[in-house]
């Protein structure tokens, strides 16, 4: 029993990684007032580009770098559509998703073709800490991208709450007019947060394809990017509560995988359904709380004339 629980918790920690990168990126973007629903598409592109680079060169860091660059390019595209062209953000995000899904499938079919595996980031034992009984095994024998994801939580909390940059980001999302009159460059802040979100989505995808699953196939993410957006609502735009949500979902995933591996007699389609049902239930339960999204979310800024 103890081994089972350690196994599930350990894989839950691992599987929280893509959710954390993508959700924190989305949180920062939404705090500045931009709703990006294309996360899943960007994750797929990040996952493919990292996977392909590693497949061809064997260089994991280069793979990660390529995913970052691809994520940044997509972020720039999304920022241009939503900030400069002031598009309806819900629909443009779906466009980005369909584009990323189609392009990653196209590239996969022409450049790779068959499902192959790569050797991803190896587990990295933290000296001393990894020898702690139970805890060491669960928390300190993970790979570098897992550590990075968990480090992102306090870092993003600090930047958002304790630095002038964080204040500007939140001001732009809450009171763009006031921020504008104080000389904050709204367009620049929003470009920054959306490109950062793109980069983090790219890393989220790479964490799947070169650190956790070490494989790429069409639609690898299976809607994970949308769940990541839902986590932002769950987390009420705060990194700490986003972390709790990410762990909730990764635990559901870990249990689902454990059931499948163990061959327990539950149809796999039901276990696969689980995360999506949990998402809807959680969104409905959260909506009862009186926490409001950033007031300027989904509203392009127009300077009053």
């Amino acid at each position: 029993m103890e081994a089972i629980i350690i196994g599930i918790v350990k894989s839950a920690i691992r599987l929280a990684t893509p959710y954390l990168y993508a959700s924190i990126g989305e949180t920062i973007g939404q705090l500045s007032g931009v709703l990006n629903l294309g996360v899943d598409g960007v994750m797929l592109m990040g996952a493919f580009s990292a996977f392909y680079t590693v497949l061809k060169t064997g260089n994991l860091w280069l793979g990660l770098l390529v995913a970052i660059v691809v994520g940044a390019i997509f972020g720039l595209l999304i920022a241009f559509i939503n900030v400069t062209l002031k598009a309806e953000q819900g629909i443009s995000g779906i466009g980005v998703y369909i584009f990323g899904l189609g392009l990653s499938s196209l590239l996969f079919r022409t450049m790779v073709g068959t499902v192959q595996t790569v050797s991803g980031f190896p587990p990295l034992s933290v000296p001393w800490l990894s020898t702690i009984p139970v805890m060491g095994k669960i928390f300190f024998q993970q790979n570098i991208l897992v550590y990075g994801a968990f480090a992102l939580v306090p870092v993003s909390w600090f930047v958002l709450n304790k630095t002038p940059l964080g204040l500007s980001i939140r001001a732009v999302g809450q009171h763009p007019e006031a921020a504008d009159s104080l000389g904050v460059n709204i367009v620049r802040i929003r470009y920054f947060t959306v490109i950062l979100g793109g980069i983090l989505s790219g890393i989220a995808g790479a964490s799947l394809s070169i650190a956790l699953l070490n494989v790429f196939q069409q639609n690898l993410t299976n809607g994970m990017g949308f769940i990541a957006v839902a986590l932002v609502y769950f987390g009420a735009w705060r990194p700490k509560t986003v972390l709790i949500g990410a762990l909730l979902f990764s635990t559901v995933n870990a249990i689902q995988i454990w059931i499948q591996v163990k061959g327990i007699n539950v149809p796999s389609d039901f276990t696969l359904m689980l995360p999506y049902i949990v998402t809807i239930v959680v969104l409905a339960a959260m909506a009862k709380r009186r926490i409001h999204p950033p007031t300027a979310l989904n509203k392009p800024f127009e300077r009053g004339e």
Binding site: L85, I94, G95, S105, L106, N222, I280, A287, G304
Partner: protein, 365 residues
């Protein structure tokens, strides 16, 4: 004027980018597009296949017109198609001995209702729990797809598959009496006619009835609608239910008109072929106008049909069309800005008026 140019410009720009991608893949874009064109319109059968492919896109597109006009973003076309197709299939498998015409009508109605209920869940959650409808409809897509895959892997699997031990996840072929009539000796079926009739009905509904007017009003200005006494929540749910009903009907017609059975390849878009997403592209491409969605669906149907030929002739994967569809959506919503600027220049006074009204409202609070 500009209104009509935008989608065509978006389409051409997407095709141009597609050509660049094809060239990068080492294929002459002209030859690839020629294959595509031939695949879509090269023969009587090709044209019929294009129309057949366009039919579910039109049903989804019409549903999207109603939802988006109400300001609710129903991205659940995939799930609603599955709900309609699955329930219609189950009806036909359960009552194979009813007269054909009766079974067809019952199956189509059940498909329509199932789509309505599946979308209604998202509508209800949006209206009364303020759950983001984009997220809930996408989650419902996955739930529907996995639910269908589960049923196909056992409870409604073709008994022959079980007997032979091949276990292909599909149902038995439905009784021939429920096959929708063919129009000409091709795969073209009566479902297309139903789709076009519904396009006209949706137009009449949105622009000539009170409910339709209120639905559009909510989409235009939710505060003003609420102030004028419209029960906004109720109409949001109505918009969702009607939207899902059209998509569900489209799913049922896919089964009775063309496939005559339900099947999956295990993935989430195995049965629908992503028609639930492509229908959104069609609706946006048709400027969210039911009649405009007809040619838009045909164009996308042609792209999808032609892409299969292109894949066979020059080995450019048909996934290219998926990417191009995404670009079309991006370009169409991106160019809204140009249109808004155009209209604002024409009527600058109305804008200041509405601004001052807003200010008054804020002060009253």
């Amino acid at each position: 004027m500009l209104m009509n140019i935008i989608p065509i410009g978006a389409f051409l720009l997407a095709l141009l980018i597609g050509a660049i991608v094809i060239a990068i893949l080492g294929v002459n874009p002209l030859i690839a597009y020629q294959a595509l064109l031939k695949g879509a319109f090269g023969s009587m059968n090709a044209v019929a296949d294009t129309v057949v492919k366009a039919t579910p896109l039109l049903f989804v597109g019409l549903g999207i017109c109603i939802a988006f006009r109400a300001g609710v973003l129903n991205i659940g076309g995939e799930g609603q198609l599955v709900a309609g197709a699955l329930s219609a299939t189950i009806v036909c498998l359960t009552f194979p001995n009813l007269p054909g015409w009766m079974l067809i009508i019952i199956a189509l109605l059940v498909g329509l209702l199932s789509g309505a209920i599946w979308a209604g869940i998202a509508g209800f959650l949006k209206a009364y729990f303020n759950v983001n409808e984009i997220l809930s409809t996408i989650m419902l897509n996955y739930i529907a797809a996995y639910g269908m895959n589960y049923l196909l892997s056992g409870p409604i699997m073709d008994p022959l598959q079980i007997e032979l031990g091949s276990f292909i996840p599909q149902t038995a072929r439905l009784t021939h009496v429920v096959d929708l009539p063919r129009l000409i000796p091709t795969r073209l079926h009566f479902g297309t006619v139903i789709a076009v009739v519904f396009a006209v009905l949706v137009y009449i509904f949105l622009w000539r009835t009170t409910i339709g007017f209120r639905i559009r009003m909510i989409g235009q200005n939710i505060q003003a609608s609420r102030a004028s006494g419209i029960n906004v929540q109720k109409y949001m749910v109505i918009a969702f239910v009607l939207s899902g009903a059209l998509v569900g009907l489209g799913g049922a017609i896919e089964v009775l008109g063309i496939h005559h059975r339900l099947f999956t390849d295990g993935s989430v878009s195995g049965f629908t072929g992503s028609a639930g997403f492509n229908g959104i592209v069609a609706a946006l491409f048709g400027q969210l106008h039911p009649i405009g969605t007809i040619p838009a669906s045909l164009l996308l149907g042609a792209l999808l049909t032609g892409a299969n030929k292109m894949q066979r002739v020059v080995q450019v994967p048909s996934a290219l069309i998926g990417a191009l569809n995404g670009l079309i959506v991006i370009f169409v919503v991106g160019s809204e800005y140009l249109r808004r600027r155009q209209t604002r220049r024409v009527e600058p006074t109305t804008k200041t008026e509405s601004n001052s009204q807003n200010k008054n409202k804020k002060e009253n609070k």
